[in-house]
């Protein structure tokens, strides 16, 4: 794992990730997650749905960016990830984080490939810009996928500490226990990295989509919500 992967997966990376709970805030508001005991199943579900999808597209973007892609590829990848993200709220959350990551990426790692991606998709999906930044730097698709999958669980884990006052040592241990699953997700994503965008896997998770939609509804109703998603 190279420094770029560490930077992208760091919770201190200034890409706006800290204001997204990945559905955890809504789950907490409904009493679905109340303690350390509820966190592992939540994170596992998140990893196998949103996390796996993010890993698949981060790996594909890294693979493409490293090889210099044909024009139009980024639009294609964007449309395919849209089609795999039926929840409008999830698409918005992904693009918000993508835009933040792009803003940070333009400053730290300017490149023609990045400029091309942002010209085609000014508000890229988070996994795509993350994977592209990795690929431009020569980071293998598997590392990009691992970072994307890790962020899919580390964000909600941190939100759980902030929202429920959970013991950070226990929460850290819970995330650490996902290491095997994270590696498996990254390996599968890397295996499909070179596929045609239309043929990429499309893992979904209906409950997470419903939590994301409900979260946005609560925002509109002016209920107290501390996270953007």
């Amino acid at each position: 794992m190279d420094v770029l992967s560490l930077l992208l997966a760091d919770s201190r990376f200034p890409g706006g990730g800290h204001v997204h709970s990945g559905g955890l805030e809504e789950a907490v508001a409904r009493g679905l997650v109340t303690s350390e005991r509820d966190l592992p199943p939540f994170l596992s579900g998140r990893l196998r749905g949103a996390g796996e999808l993010a890993a698949v597209f981060a790996a594909a973007a890294a693979h493409a960016a490293a090889r210099g892609v044909r024009s139009g590829y980024w639009l294609l990848l964007d449309a395919e990830l849209d089609a795999r993200t039926p929840s409008l709220a999830q698409r918005e959350a992904s693009r918000a984080q993508g835009r933040g990551t792009a803003r940070a990426g333009r400053v730290a790692w300017p490149s023609p490939v990045l400029a091309g991606l942002l010209a085609a998709t000014p508000r890229p999906h988070h996994p795509v810009i993350l994977g592209a930044l990795a690929g431009i730097a020569g980071t293998p698709p598997r590392d990009a996928a691992r970072a994307a999958a890790y962020l899919a669980v580390s964000g909600p884990a941190s939100a759980a500490v902030r929202l429920l006052g959970l013991d950070p040592l226990s929460v850290n241990a819970i995330v650490a226990a996902l290491a095997g699953d994270l590696e498996a997700v990254a390996a599968r994503a890397a295996a499909s990295a070179g596929a045609e965008p239309a043929d990429l896997p499309a893992p979904g998770a209906p409950a997470l989509d419903l939590l994301a939609e409900a979260h946005v509804r609560q925002h509109k109703k002016k209920e107290v919500r501390l996270f953007a998603s």
């Binding site: 789950a27 196998r48 499309a202 209906p206 989509d209």
Partner: protein, 266 residues
């Protein structure tokens, strides 16, 4: 058992009615035409023990330009394990031509213990095509844990992907996860590519109507049983601005209140 049933509907320009050009059943998939008005109606009857481990079932439905077809299931199907644990698969291919309409509404699929089933639905739409298709998955019979099911949905319009989703059922951790299936027994979903999509998502605690990025709308319901799932789906459908129920659509007797007292958001 391997079976491939085919159904082709075309518009008869003289009468303005849809005619069934091809209607090829193959056990255990039996297609029964019904007499009706401008929309052709066909019932899909599967044998009670379908799909069974070892089965490879394929259904291809084509609706020609301007034609209108409604294909509905008659009874719930049970995904059952083979005697030696063989997997089963069911593939549905839908092709809907310009300005054609297809409703594909199978009855619920019950994923029984130890089943290993793969279901795929591929819908290719031309410009101006309308599609309504639903999927209701029941995670095991009463008191039964579900076997394994992988279901994949692909809906495209021309070269544009509208919806691609794959879902795995049967991993106890994921079935119970609030971030995956939330421990609910029934997942009902419906794709509507049917006129105007909602401008923003609508929903309640465990259901939503959400516009897809490139057109079309997905209705999603997680419910404790199939009856509530169906009723909630009917409520959700009313939030779709483009939906115009056909003359064959029974009037759903439910209201938001009767379905879930928890929901404050119609």
């Amino acid at each position: 058992m391997k079976a491939h049933a085919r159904l082709t509907a075309e518009l008869d320009p003289a009468s303005g009615r849809t005619r069934l050009r091809e209607l090829r059943s193959m056990a255990p998939l039996t297609l029964f035409p019904k007499r009706g008005g401008g929309t052709a109606q066909v019932h899909l009857v599967s044998s009670a023990t379908t799909p069974l481990g070892g089965d490879e079932l394929t259904l291809t439905v084509r609706v020609g330009p301007g034609a209108s077809l409604r294909l509905s299931g008659v009874a719930a199907t049970l995904a059952l394990p083979g005697s030696h644990g063989e997997p089963s698969s069911a593939a549905v291919h839908l092709e809907v031509a310009e300005d054609a309409t297809l409703e594909y509404l199978p009855e619920p699929t019950v994923v029984t213990a130890r089943a290993r089933h793969t279901a795929t639905l591929t819908a290719s739409l031309a410009d101006g095509a309308r599609l309504r298709t639903s999927e209701v998955l029941v995670l095991g019979r009463d008191g039964e844990r579900p076997g394994g099911l992988v279901t994949t949905t692909n809906v495209t319009r021309g070269a544009v992907p509208l919806l691609r989703q794959r879902l795995m059922i049967g991993d106890p951790l994921l079935d119970a996860s609030a971030a995956y299936l939330a421990g609910r027994k029934v997942l009902a979903s419906e794709v509507l590519v049917w006129g105007a999509d909602p401008a923003e998502a609508v929903g309640g605690d465990w259901w939503s109507v959400t516009p897809l990025a490139a057109g079309g709308t997905l209705l999603t319901v997680l419910a404790p049983d199939a009856v509530e799932a169906g009723a909630r789906l009917a409520v959700a459908r009313r939030h779709h601005p483009g939906w115009t129920p056909g003359c064959h659509d029974p009037v759903a007797p439910v209201t938001d209140q009767t379905v879930s007292p928890r929901s404050g958001n119609p």
